[in-house]
């Protein structure tokens, strides 16, 4: 296999990892005002992702860095072209990140309510915009002969891409609800389970619509079709498991559905990485966007050695924090006045 193909696959894997992992913590953030009816419940929700959200976000940093290293042209065109959406995503991720750390640090309901808003919007905005961004990548955007993006932000707001945004939003919320049902006890768990079934249906409709439109208009090939069908089956299977209270299987189902949906888009793109809607000759491909063979070779060795280690300790961290938590796990006193806790 050519190294450019290897790196195309590795970048797809990094995005799969990012969306599967940060997908559920985005979902938890969006569900914070819905499932967290009081302060203790909200703290339960936040603490389910407390130890892991930052590690999840590193998948995005590595996906960005790997794109820079392996496909500099893709990185340059994508990041400069999608300037304003990425600015919004950055602002959202900044507010969300500090919100987790800061919200419990003052014993003041107004302070916490403010950071809860930051967590909600900071999760919702990227959950939508990543779908819009990927929709546009698959659909193709104006790219000129210098491989520069030549459109404007309104080119990115088309119905197909917006449906992509709705798809990632509803998928992540479903994934988050399933995760909460898996990780909590008591009333929160029951409500998360019920909500997952309802929002899961919306997600299934959105995902089938989006992947169907993708296959009908932008992507051909039997592989993508099979992958898209498998994604839909996994999602439905997850929802069925959720209905029967089999939370582990339900989480596996929503995780596989998200993973396969991402793989469908990447499989449909290949060998393009960013098709040009101006002229197919200007499309960025794994060939014209890539680094040299030597750079890819070094990066392949580094990835081959480091990735198993990273997966190992991240898995261990999930194992350490495998226990469900409920309102009883949250210390009585508010976090801020108990400076002893951490």
């Amino acid at each position: 296999m050519e190294l450019t193909t290897v790196w195309f696959i590795l970048i797809a894997v990094l995005w799969v990892g990012y969306f599967v992992l940060e997908g559920f913590d985005f979902g938890v953030g969006i569900l914070l005002p819905v499932l967290g009816r009081n302060e203790r419940e909200r703290r339960v929700l936040i603490n389910t992702i407390g130890p892991v959200w930052d590690g999840n976000e590193v998948w995005l940093i590595v996906a960005g860095g790997a794109t820079f290293a392996a496909f500099p042209e893709w990185y340059a065109t994508l990041f400069s072209g999608f300037y304003l959406p990425l600015l919004l995503i950055l602002v959202a991720l900044i507010l969300r990140g500090v919100a987790f750390e800061f919200r419990g640090k003052r014993d003041d309901p107004q302070w916490r309510a403010w950071w809860d808003k930051a967590i909600f919007w900071g999760s919702l905005v990227p959950a939508v915009l990543w779908g819009v961004a990927f929709g546009n990548i698959v659909r193709g955007v104006p790219i000129d002969s210098d491989l520069e993006f030549s459109g404007n932000v309104f080119d990115l707001l088309n119905p197909y891409a917006l449906l992509g945004g709705l798809t990632t939003l509803t998928l992540f919320v479903t994934h988050g609800a399933v995760f909460l049902a898996l990780k909590t006890t008591g009333d929160v768990r029951r409500r998360a389970n019920r909500l997952a079934s309802r929002i899961g249906l919306v997600a299934a409709v959105a995902a089938v619509g989006f992947l169907g439109w993708t296959l009908a208009s932008y992507v051909d090939g039997a592989d993508a079709t099979i992958l898209a069908i498998a994604a839909a089956v996994a999602l439905v299977g997850g929802l069925v498991a959720n209905r029967f209270g089999r939370e582990g299987w339900a989480f596996l189902g929503s995780a596989i559905a998200i993973g396969l949906a991402v793989i469908t888009l990447f499989a449909g793109l290949f060998p393009d990485v960013m098709p040009s809607s101006t002229n197919p000759a200007y499309s960025l491909t794994v060939h014209n966007a890539s680094s040299t063979h030597y750079t890819l070779e070094i990066m392949t060795w580094v990835a081959a050695f480091c990735t198993p280690v990273v997966l190992g300790y991240q898995a261990w961290s999930y194992w350490v924090f495998r226990r469900r938590i409920g309102v009883d796990s949250i210390p009585e006193e508010p976090a801020a006045s108990s400076a002893s806790h951490g």
Partner: protein, 465 residues
């Protein structure tokens, strides 16, 4: 201002801001790990309480470093797409490796450290903070290797057909002589920063709250001040090596740092210089004979080259153009960097002297110094980066690509004004909140600790957001 100037301002603002948090993260992760190790080894509860106190301040700071760091990675593509295309084959690799090797390690093990107090055996829990600390060092190494390549490109070949620089020796990039001196300089400066943070806070508590946990804060003060001292010497020595290498690979930067307009042998060190408005001759200066020759070349009688001479040489090599960086900026940031770093060391010495043999200082002056101390290295770090980046101008990659050629061609001034305003306002607001939280927890003092044993799953979590 056009899109280029705005993009430069945005990069400067966001980078200097990001780098307020980075050195504290690097140095504090180790100092907190040392405190926790002292607790595990001695069983003395004072160290556990210090670990939790400084650990909390460290985490408030760490969150800011993380979120402002994402902007840094995105910004190369968003605002500097032509630069990214030109250097991606070389520059992207250390960035990707930094994420894969360092960021995963830091984030995962800090998560385990924060939430693992009652989930992990004592020694395993201690190992998590050490692994996170090692992650910060790895991160520093890879990102500085990338930056050093911009200062002194090595291990590459220019491919005229592709119009880009291409990697041909990765080991050369990782062992770039600029990186090998910049890494120790930056790490020492990070320890100096963290030591000043720990010592300044401890001194403040000792004077303002003399009856609370005096023994613990004395330990913290002496650990912090000793760190400042050792790291200060390390920063100066590594900086001296760095200056000699800089004179070799970027003579214009050294000449600008000294506002040395014409070749001089032996060269004197300027303490204060005013240049003419046209920027190519000096009007007035106070100088120490031969010191610059020694700093730059290690020989008090060596010749040091001046700005005008290097300018004419570069015109020969690179064609017509202005190859002078902003000389007042280079000159003053270089001096201020050394000045505030040195001042931090003097303050630390004073603190050690004032607390010798169990003395309890009460001086108002010392209180003022305690408040000032944590800010000195932060300023020094900022001046250092402004110097090294502004001193490289007009190049974005020295000798290979000008900054003006690196900017994103399709990004409009309106877009950059938007993002720059958003980042500046957001960062300003967060700075106020961050300082407010730090002060709150500094005032709160050392937390009481309860015994935490792993495995008791019915109790509430020992730490919760």
């Amino acid at each position: 201002m056009d899109a280029l100037d705005l993009a430069r301002w945005q990069f400067g603002i966001t980078t200097v801001y990001h780098f307020l948090f980075v050195p504290i993260t690097i140095g504090m992760s180790f100092l907190v790990a040392i405190m926790q190790t002292a607790w595990v080894r001695t069983g003395n509860e004072r160290w556990l309480r210090l670990t939790k106190f400084y650990g909390k301040l460290f985490l408030i700071n760490f969150a800011m470093g993380v979120v402002t760091g994402i902007v840094q990675e995105f910004q190369f593509g968003m605002n500097w797409s032509s630069y990214s295309r030109f250097v991606g084959d070389i520059f992207g690799a250390p960035l990707a490796i930094e994420g894969l090797v360092a960021f995963f390690l830091e984030s995962t093990f800090l998560g385990l450290w924060i939430f693992g107090w009652d989930r992990l055996p004592k020694r395993v829990h201690l190992a998590t903070i050490w692994l996170a600390a090692i992650g910060t060092l790895l991160s520093a190494y890879f990102i500085l290797a990338a930056n050093s390549w911009m200062q002194h490109p090595v291990g590459y070949e220019y491919n005229a057909d592709a119009g880009r620089a291409e990697l041909n020796d990765f080991l050369a990039v990782l062992t770039n002589k600029v990186a090998l001196v910049t890494v120790p300089h930056t790490i020492f400066a990070a320890f100096l920063t963290a030591g000043a943070f720990v010592a300044g806070i401890a001194m403040w508590r000792l004077i303002r709250r003399p009856d609370e946990d005096r023994e613990a804060f004395r330990s913290a003060l002496r650990l912090g001040a000793a760190t400042v001292l050792v790291a200060g010497i390390g920063t100066a020595v590594s900086g001296d090596f760095q200056a000699k290498i800089m004179t070799d690979v970027q003579p214009m930067k050294m000449a600008a740092a000294e506002a040395l307009y014409d070749d001089q042998q032996p060269a004197s060190f300027s303490i204060f210089t005013i240049g003419s408005l046209s920027g190519n001759e000096e009007v007035f200066s106070i100088r120490i004979p031969k010191l610059l020759s020694f700093l730059a070349e290690g020989d008090p009688n060596a010749e040091v080259r001046g700005i005008n001479d290097i300018q004419s040489e570069y015109e020969q090599t690179y064609g017509p153009g202005d190859y002078k960086p902003n000389i007042p900026v280079a000159y003053w940031t270089f001096r201020l960097m050394i000045g505030v770093g040195g001042l931090a060391v003097l303050v630390a010495l004073w603190m050690l002297w004032a607390t010798r043999k169990g003395r309890s200082p009460t001086s108002r002056w010392l209180l003022a110094a305690a408040v000032l101390l944590p800010f000195l290295p932060l300023l020094g770090n900022s001046f250092g980066w402004i110097f090294t980046e502004m001193g490289r101008q007009p190049w974005i990659v020295f000798g290979l690509m000008r900054t003006s050629s690196g900017v994103s061609p399709g990004t409009t001034a309106a877009e950059v004004i938007t993002s720059m305003s958003v980042f500046t306002l957001l960062y300003g607001g967060l700075a106020v909140i961050e300082v407010g939280l730090l002060l709150k927890y500094i005032r709160a003092g050392l937390p009481e600790v309860e015994p935490t044993e792993p495995g008791d799953s019915d109790r509430p979590m020992a730490f919760a957001y």
